[in-house]
């Protein structure tokens, strides 16, 4: 069950938590019906199927697909994860080939149990025709799926704070009191991106301020 968090509710919670009131910006901007920007439609379908098995949705809570982990990876392949773009091209194609060889269908069209078995083939490095290896591709996707599910929503994943809800992370607090560090503390949830706070700059990397050429 996905709990919808409205923009108004985010602001209300921020006010309750004493955080700075700010527009939530791009947090929920990318919706599921928008096209992928870096992956092809076929690649995206396969990747969505993988992340949906790595962190599956179940009766208790939504998973990586609902959190937008595949969308996160797609967007990041255009910037921070660009060096991994070719690994995805090759790895996703190799996985589909492996699925066709083992089960006669592309990965995304298989049932969950079959998909899990194929992913275990990758994890245990018994699947063939991966470069450099099936396990390396598996670890790459697992790492990026964790990033896309649990990172600050600024990067397009952790949609509706699905990841932070799953872990029980209470959220960003710029000042934390001693009682809020007690082991049984019931801290009110703060559901904000760091960049909802106007004091922080995106993509900041410092500045040169010296006047050279004396």
């Amino acid at each position: 069950m996905t709990r919808e968090v409205s923009r108004r509710e985010v602001l209300k919670r921020a006010a309750l938590a004493g955080a700075i009131s700010a527009a939530p910006g791009q947090v929920f901007a990318q919706r599921a019906d928008e096209p992928y920007t870096n992956l092809s439609a076929a690649e995206a379908r396969t990747l969505e199927a993988i992340v949906a098995r790595l962190i599956p949705s179940d009766a208790r809570s939504p998973g990586a697909l609902e959190a937008g982990a595949a969308r996160y990876i797609d967007r990041a392949l255009g910037d921070a994860l660009a060096p991994s773009r070719s690994a995805y091209t090759a790895g996703l194609a190799a996985l589909d080939a492996h699925a066709r060889g083992a089960a006669g269908k592309p990965f995304a069209e298989l049932g969950a149990e079959r998909q899990d078995a194929l992913l275990r083939d990758l994890e245990q490095n018994v699947a063939k025709n991966f470069t450099p290896s099936a396990s390396a591709f598996f670890e790459l996707v697992l790492e990026h799926t964790l990033e896309g599910t649990f990172s600050d929503p600024h990067y397009g994943g952790n949609r509706d704070f699905i990841g932070w809800e799953l872990l029980g992370y209470p959220g960003l607090r710029l000042a934390v009191l001693a009682d809020e560090q007690r082991m049984d503390a019931k801290n009110p949830l703060v559901r904000l991106s760091a960049y909802d706070l106007p004091m922080f700059e995106k993509n900041a990397d410092g500045h040169d301020d010296d006047h050279h050429g004396r």
């Binding site: 098995r53 790595l54 962190i55 599956p56 179940d58 208790r60 809570s61 998973g63 921070a80 899990d116 992913l119 994890e123 697992l142 964790l146 990033e147 599910t149 649990f150 990172s151 600050d152 600024h154 990067y155 990841g163 932070w164 799953l166 872990l167 029980g168 992370y169 209470p170 960003l172 607090r173 710029l174 000042a175 934390v176 001693a178 809020e180 560090q181 007690r182 082991m183 049984d184 503390a185 760091a194 960049y195 706070l197 004091m199 922080f200 700059e201 995106k202 900041a204 990397d205 410092g206 500045h207 040169d208 301020d209 010296d210 050279h212 004396r214």
Partner: protein, 568 residues
């Protein structure tokens, strides 16, 4: 065509943890200093609490000079190179890595200065491990104590003293060497979890204590106290409570009017004059090459770059690299074997979501020579440290203690229950220098300017492996006493690129085995000083920064007091 700049009295290469300290006593003594810093200036707006950026994408160093010259590691001279690290662990910037470090600010123990003589005295000469090049420091803790004191107060360090002038205070570390006075601030507050760990340690008969941190526990020098927000590790401080040199010593040096800072300056060579003295440096900024002559050159980069820059700066007088006519540059390399840690799973929540790595509880019972090694097969030991610090991606990446797979529905249920019920520990252990562990220039891997990068040839030896196993036993015992239901030991790993790298320009009286003298000036080049942990001859079982800073302050004071003799 290089631009030749007017001569200055002192040029400092690197304005980080060590160089950033040295500029304060130098400018206070009236010396004119130009600091060449490869990075830029950063401010609180740059320090977003963003785990992905800070801890996984290596901000800001991913786009920096350091990241274009990442050293290459191999285990031995016979081993192939390991795959090169993707991110350099240290950052460039005014303040350097003190902008985003953990800020644990320990003094070394008395034993660390006297490893050879103390081992011989207590256990016999045969107990110094074969192949180790360890020497006693040229002085003991008592010589460095006044400088530890100066930097603790200049920067702002919080902590609980355990030994003031020989009077033991059991609230602090009873094993620490004598100090002249208490810390300028009380320690950072503990948490219910660190209290739980402290009580368990006391039941074992140990002496837990809050560790020292260059982080304000209360308002100090008009800077805020710590806010415990949980993004301290590899994140700058949004309220400037972290006592980086960028907010403490450097601003005071700038206010003197005697410090000029040049940012984005990539120093490529130190050059020598006809008399064999250091003449100044060459650096590149915005594609232009500059020559900066100076009376004294202070080399204050990180350990790897200190060695690399000396080796790159060869000349007719120094054909194997500057100050290397005795072949000692790059030798006596060490790094802490931090990877051999212990994780623990508890049956209840710990609430480690907030806090910082320096908010913890330490045990020194098994560090250094604080325990009898007669029946053991190693010397040295480790500090045990447990702390309150966890962020979401790292929590989701938690070990599963053999109780769940690494992904899928079962994993998800496990993590949902246990993400806040586990902890790790930080175990810093003695590392000795060995002839087989050294730094040099890589034969083929180069930076974008065409200069060869540093190569690390190093591996853990038997003494270090035995310490790791022994310390992990102790940490497991501590976690179990505190109620952990499962523990898991980490592997010892490699000696690849790390935040705790020592040696390469070791300090000592004998020029045959040391690059710099007891004051930090090169035996072969008297107006070249070296700052940083690269001068340290032993690692200790604790973070190096405060010791590097105390040594830097001492070198700077020595220079100021002996100006005409050193500057010539």
């Amino acid at each position: 065509m290089a631009v030749r700049l007017p001569r200055t009295e002192v040029v400092v290469i690197g304005l980080g943890g060590a160089g950033g300290v040295a500029v304060e006593p130098l400018t206070a003594a009236g010396r004119s200093v130009i600091a060449l810093e490869a990075g830029t200036r950063l401010a609180p707006k740059d320090f977003a609490p963003d785990e992905l950026r800070n801890n996984f994408r290596g901000w800001p160093q991913a786009a920096q000079k350091a990241n274009r010259e990442i050293p290459v590691h191999r285990a031995s001279a016979q081993s192939p190179d390991d795959p090169r690290a993707a991110i350099h662990p240290m950052m460039n910037g005014v303040g350097g890595t003190t902008l985003h470090y953990w800020a644990q600010s320990w003094r070394l123990s008395p034993w660390d200065f006297r490893v050879v003589s103390e081992t011989k005295r207590r256990y016999g000469a045969k107990r110094v491990p074969a192949g180790s090049t360890v020497e006693d420091w040229p002085f003991g803790l008592e010589e460095l104590e006044p400088y530890y004191d100066k930097v603790e107060y200049a920067l702002g360090v919080s902590g609980q003293a355990g030994n003031v002038n020989g009077v033991i205070d059991p609230r602090g570390n009873i094993f620490e060497g004598p100090r002249a006075r208490s810390y300028p601030m009380p320690p950072l507050r503990g948490t219910e979890f660190t209290d739980l760990m402290g009580a368990a340690a006391r039941r074992l008969g140990w002496h837990p204590f809050p560790g020292p941190a260059a982080i304000n526990s209360q308002v100090y020098q008009n800077r805020s106290q710590c806010m415990y927000h949980g993004y301290c590790s590899r994140g700058g401080c949004h309220v400037s409570a972290k006592s980086s040199t960028a907010v403490s010593t450097i601003p005071r040096a700038e206010a003197s009017g005697k410090l000029e800072i040049v940012t984005s300056a990539h120093v490529t060579r130190i050059y020598v004059d006809d008399d064999g003295r250091a003449g100044g440096v060459h650096y590149v900024k915005d594609g232009e090459t500059y020559i900066q002559p100076a009376g004294v050159v202070l080399l204050a980069c990180y350990t790897y770059e200190n060695t690399r820059l000396l080796l790159l700066s060869d000349s007719a007088r120094f054909p194997h690299g500057l100050a290397n006519n005795h072949g000692q540059v790059g030798k006596h390399y060490m790094s802490h074997n931090q990877a051999a840690t212990v994780n623990a799973l508890f049956p209840h929540k710990l609430n480690r979501w907030y806090g910082l790595p320096a908010q913890g509880v330490g045990v020194d019972e098994w560090a250094d020579d604080n325990f009898d090694h007669n029946e053991l097969d190693f010397i040295g030991g480790g500090n045990l440290w447990v702390y309150s610090d966890q962020r979401p991606i790292a929590a989701a990446s938690m070990p599963t203690f053999g109780r769940a797979p690494r992904w899928g529905a079962e994993w998800k249920a496990f993590v949902a229950e246990n993400a806040d019920r586990w902890t790790t520990s930080y175990l810093q252990k003695t590392t000795l220098p060995y002839a087989e562990n050294y730094l040099d220039l890589h034969p083929s891997v180069k930076d974008p300017l065409g200069d060869r990068v540093c190569r690390v040839t190093a591996d853990h030896k038997d003494n270090e492996r035995r310490i790791a196993s022994f310390i992990q036993d102790k940490m497991e015992q501590w976690f179990r006493e505190a109620g952990a239901v499962a523990t898991m030991r980490g592997q010892i790993g490699t000696m690849g690129v790390t935040t705790h790298a020592y040696g390469g320009t070791r300090m000592g009286d004998d020029p045959a085995t040391n690059v710099v003298d007891r004051y930090g000036f090169a035996h072969e080049v008297p107006n070249l000083g070296v700052l940083g942990a690269s001068v340290m001859g032993t690692s200790g079982a604790r973070n190096p920064t405060l010791t590097a800073q105390a040594l830097a302050w001492r070198t700077a004071e020595h220079l100021a007091a002996n100006w005409s003799r050193i500057a010539g």
